[in-house]
């Protein structure tokens, strides 16, 4: 019995070591940074100065490089305040689409825009998974205070308006939301503090466990302790805004947030993403996400906010190239998608600064 147990334990240990090597060299398991939260501002980004390779699926496809810069954002560039840089700067603010784990670091939109400007304009990217309009506002205010941009570009997606309501977004507990007080006034509600046990980060240093948790989506491993920025993301559904969906509370909160954006000291451009499936199936008018259309309507009367809808650009590009602009796994932009978006918005951005 003892010999059997010793043999079994030795086998398990050696198996673990073999798997560790295999999931680092043979099929490199997904690496992703640990989320952190600024204790002062409550803004969530990542542990700075780290890097790795993001893979997806059982066969570890993709293998996109990422780099968390010293300021805690996934970008090839380091960020400097106005006094330390020579170029005008455009701050790009968005969710996981902008964060860009589903494309290589060198294909990100900030790099592509920088190249389009031939190095004359700096583009700083502030993408954070699961964010929505209220969180974009907080990041915009912080970015203005830290880096003094010349233009703010906010990338909108599904649920960005509705998700900003306190209590509506149960899975977005690490973002700022807006609550209505009994006297009718509105206030920003800070996010729940990001916590994780000390054991989990150590556990996830194991390539095997990371592979099982992220590449194979085995949820029982480290459930809820470390937030996988790309878990459970599915193709958003397009729909048109209707009166029932956008109740008075949503209208009130969204107008409040837009007021705050309008009062920022720099001009703002909203860029609305578009649906994927209708475009790939050849529809000329693919529609748009309900929340994006809703925000667009509310922006019509606001002078300081410009609005760009990406859907027509995607349609045009698909008709010409028939190249998918999103990952095969989910609707995140791939490297090509980043270039499509960069080309679509570049001229408007330059004109705005």
């Amino acid at each position: 019995m003892k010999i059997f147990l010793v043999r079994v334990v030795s086998f398990l240990i050696s198996t673990f070591l073999v798997l560790e090597v295999f999931f680092r060299v043979g099929l490199p398991a997904r690496q992703y940074p640990m989320s952190t939260m600024d204790p002062e501002t409550g803004i969530r980004n990542y542990q700075s100065s780290t890097g790795g390779v993001f893979s997806y699926g059982a066969l570890c496809l993709g293998r996109y490089r990422w780099r968390i810069n010293p300021q805690g954002w996934n970008s090839q560039f380091d960020y400097f305040d106005q006094s330390q840089r020579d170029n005008p700067m455009v701050a790009l603010i968005g969710d996981s689409y902008l964060e860009g784990y589903w494309s290589d670091l060198t294909d990100h939109i900030d790099v592509q825009l920088h190249e389009l400007s031939q190095g004359q304009v700096d583009f700083y990217s502030f993408g954070t998974w699961g964010a929505m309009l209220s969180q974009y506002l907080i990041i915009s205010q912080d970015v203005i205070a830290r880096y003094q941009p010349d233009l703010i570009v906010v990338f909108l997606n599904e649920d960005d308006a509705k998700g900003s309501l306190y209590g509506e977004a149960s899975d977005l507990i690490y973002c700022f939301t807006v609550d209505t007080l009994p006297d009718g006034t509105l206030q920003m509600v800070p996010p729940q503090r990001l916590t994780s046990s000390r054991l989990i980060p150590i556990m996830l240093k194991s390539a095997t466990l990371r592979y099982l948790k992220t590449n194979r989506n085995l949820a029982f491993l480290a459930r809820g302790a470390v937030v996988d920025p790309n878990a459970n993301l599915s193709e958003p559904e397009d729909s048109s805004p209707d009166d029932e969906y956008f109740d008075p509370a949503t209208v009130l909160v969204t107008n409040y947030l837009l007021d705050q954006f309008e009062s920022l000291s720099v001009p703002v451009i909203f860029v609305a993403d578009g649906p994927r499936a209708p475009i790939y199936s050849g529809e000329v008018d693919p529609g748009s996400f309900a929340d994006c259309s809703f925000i667009e309507q509310l922006c019509l009367s606001r002078d300081n906010i410009q609005f760009i809808n990406l859907a027509p650009y995607f349609v045009e590009d698909w008709e010409n190239s028939h190249t998918m602009f999103s990952s095969e796994e989910n609707p995140h932009w791939d490297g090509y998608g980043n270039s499509v978006v960069a080309r679509a918005i570049y001229r408007d951005l330059i004109n705005a600064i």
């Binding site: 059997f4 050696s14 198996t15 798997l19 059982a58 095997t208 194979r216 029982f220």
Partner: protein, 477 residues
């Protein structure tokens, strides 16, 4: 609790360690702990149905004692009848009540009479078909005086509820398994190691092959009208491999698991797709059931010196009942009936049995005659699987009809290629090991090679395995 689930991954090592470390001094402790673990294993699924097992086990325990204490034939018949009534009554009620009621209603409806007998919302207790047959074999054998009943209640209850085989067999007989519960088990290193190897072979068959084939098979049988004949033949091949890998995978895990606790269960599958005729197939497929049916249905109804015609008829009856055992649906009945028909030529021509022993013994390749036999047998059993898998007989004939009416439509077959290769690979590995109990019986290999094989299999399971705790097909029967 399913073998391919996280709770079982925790349950097994805990039970194993307690069993060998704390209970090895006494048989009573060993059996009590096995019983406790088995009830916990079953209760994890549904604790209410535990009472059913306990009740029916108690009945057979008492019937066994009653049979032993009586020589009076009428009383013995009565006791055996009581065992039959309780066991088959429970099985019939839970498994077949709705089937017979709806068939009865349909029959009355077809002759213009309105039937008003309602079906019930019944849950089929998992494993009832298996432990019922196990218990019946106990009372029948005591009645026939081929075994002695046990007075050791804990041993008997453990034998009935033994967790590795509780959900889907093998249906071990009391004559071979019960004595193992009456003797203190000593840890056997070679047996335990072989058990682990057999479990590993079962997991790879279930998680990598069967569970990956499952969505394809589901799609083929749901949307057969969209496929051409070539695709549907591939679907048939996938179904045959899925059923085999799912059930033989389960059996390997169950047998391997029992070995860890010092028990030897009977072999349930002996590489059936290398059978050279239908008789050999049934000596290699679900052996514990086919031998049970042979010994307790076919032989008794045949009587002494049956004519060829009577033999043939009884084979058809036995296989039709075999179909009914699998499920309360006419598709299963027809599947069994077809298998019964397959036996007719050889039974009527008195050519049974033709093939004994392993195919191509001592050679790498089979002879042309053997190869032809294997191909024909595989094709025949695969054809019958269509009825086994389809929801209705109409669906089955629709599938087969489509296969021949639209043989070739230039569909995209390349998406089936990875699983075709995987299926062929598992068959190839099994062919190499066809004279063994399972394909990972490689204890004669040098340790380095063995461990490399284990590592490779574990990597294959982690990378290609399906991790959804998918149910085993045969646990539904």
């Amino acid at each position: 609790m399913l073998f391919n689930s996280i709770p079982f991954a925790v349950f097994l090592p805990v039970v194993f360690l307690i069993y060998w470390m704390l209970t090895k001094r006494s048989l009573l402790l060993q059996n009590s702990f096995v019983l406790l673990a088995s009830y916990a294993f079953y209760g994890w699924w549904n604790k209410h149905f535990l009472l059913l097992i306990i009740f029916s086990s108690l009945v057979d325990y008492l019937v066994g004692l009653g049979l032993a204490s009586s020589e009076e034939q009428n009383r013995r018949r009565l006791l055996l009848g009581m065992s039959f009534a309780v066991n088959l009554g429970l099985l019939g009620f839970f498994k077949y009540y709705n089937f017979f009621i709806s068939s009865f209603n349909e029959l009355l409806g077809s002759i213009g009479l309105a039937a008003d007998v309602h079906t019930l919302n019944l849950i089929l207790p998992v494993g009832i078909s298996y432990y019922t047959f196990k218990k019946l074999s106990y009372t029948i054998e005591i009645y026939k005086k081929t075994i002695e009943p046990t007075r050791n209640a804990v041993a008997f209850f453990s034998f009935i509820a033994f967790f590795p085989q509780l959900l889907a067999g093998p249906i071990d007989r009391a004559s071979t398994l019960l004595p193992q519960f009456l003797k203190k088990r000593k840890f056997s290193d070679p047996l335990a190691r072989d058990g682990l190897r057999q479990m590993l072979s079962g997991f790879v068959k279930k998680m990598v092959i069967a569970d990956n084939l499952s969505p394809f098979v589901e799609d083929f049988f749901t949307n057969y009208a969209q496929y051409d004949g070539v695709s549907l033949v591939i679907g048939l091949f996938f179904l045959a491999i899925q059923l085999y890998c799912d059930f033989s995978g389960y059996s390997d895990i169950a047998i391997g698991c029992a070995k860890l606790f010092g028990f030897n269960l009977m072999q349930n599958f002996a590489f059936p797709y290398f059978s050279r005729d239908i008789a050999e197939f049934w000596r290699r497929w679900h052996i514990s059931l086919s031998t049970w049916l042979r010994d307790y249905i076919y032989v008794p109804i045949c009587g002494a010196r049956p004519s060829r015609q009577k033999k043939a008829l009884n084979i058809v009856i036995t296989f039709t009942l075999c179909g009914l055992w699998h499920g309360a649906n006419w598709t299963f009945v027809l599947w069994g009936f077809i298998h019964g028909l397959y036996f007719l030529p050889m039974t009527l021509a008195k050519r049974y049995p033709r093939f004994i022993g392993t195919a191509a013994k001592g050679k790498f390749l089979p002879s042309l005659r053997e190869a032809r036999g294997m191909i024909v047998t595989f094709a025949a059993t695969s054809f019958a699987w269509v009825f086994f898998r389809s929801e209705t007989i109409g669906d089955a004939s629709g599938y087969l009809g489509r296969m021949f009416s639209h043989p070739f439509m230039h569909q995209n077959y390349s998406r089936f290629l990875p699983l075709l290769l995987a299926s062929v690979l598992i068959l190839f590995v099994e062919w190499l090991q066809r004279n063994k109990e399972h394909f990972l019986q490689i204890e004669h290999f040098p340790m380095v090679f063995r461990w490399i094989i284990y590592y490779s299999i574990i990597i294959v399971i982690l990378v290609f395995g399906a991790f959804g705790s998918n149910e085993f097909i045969y646990t539904q029967f």
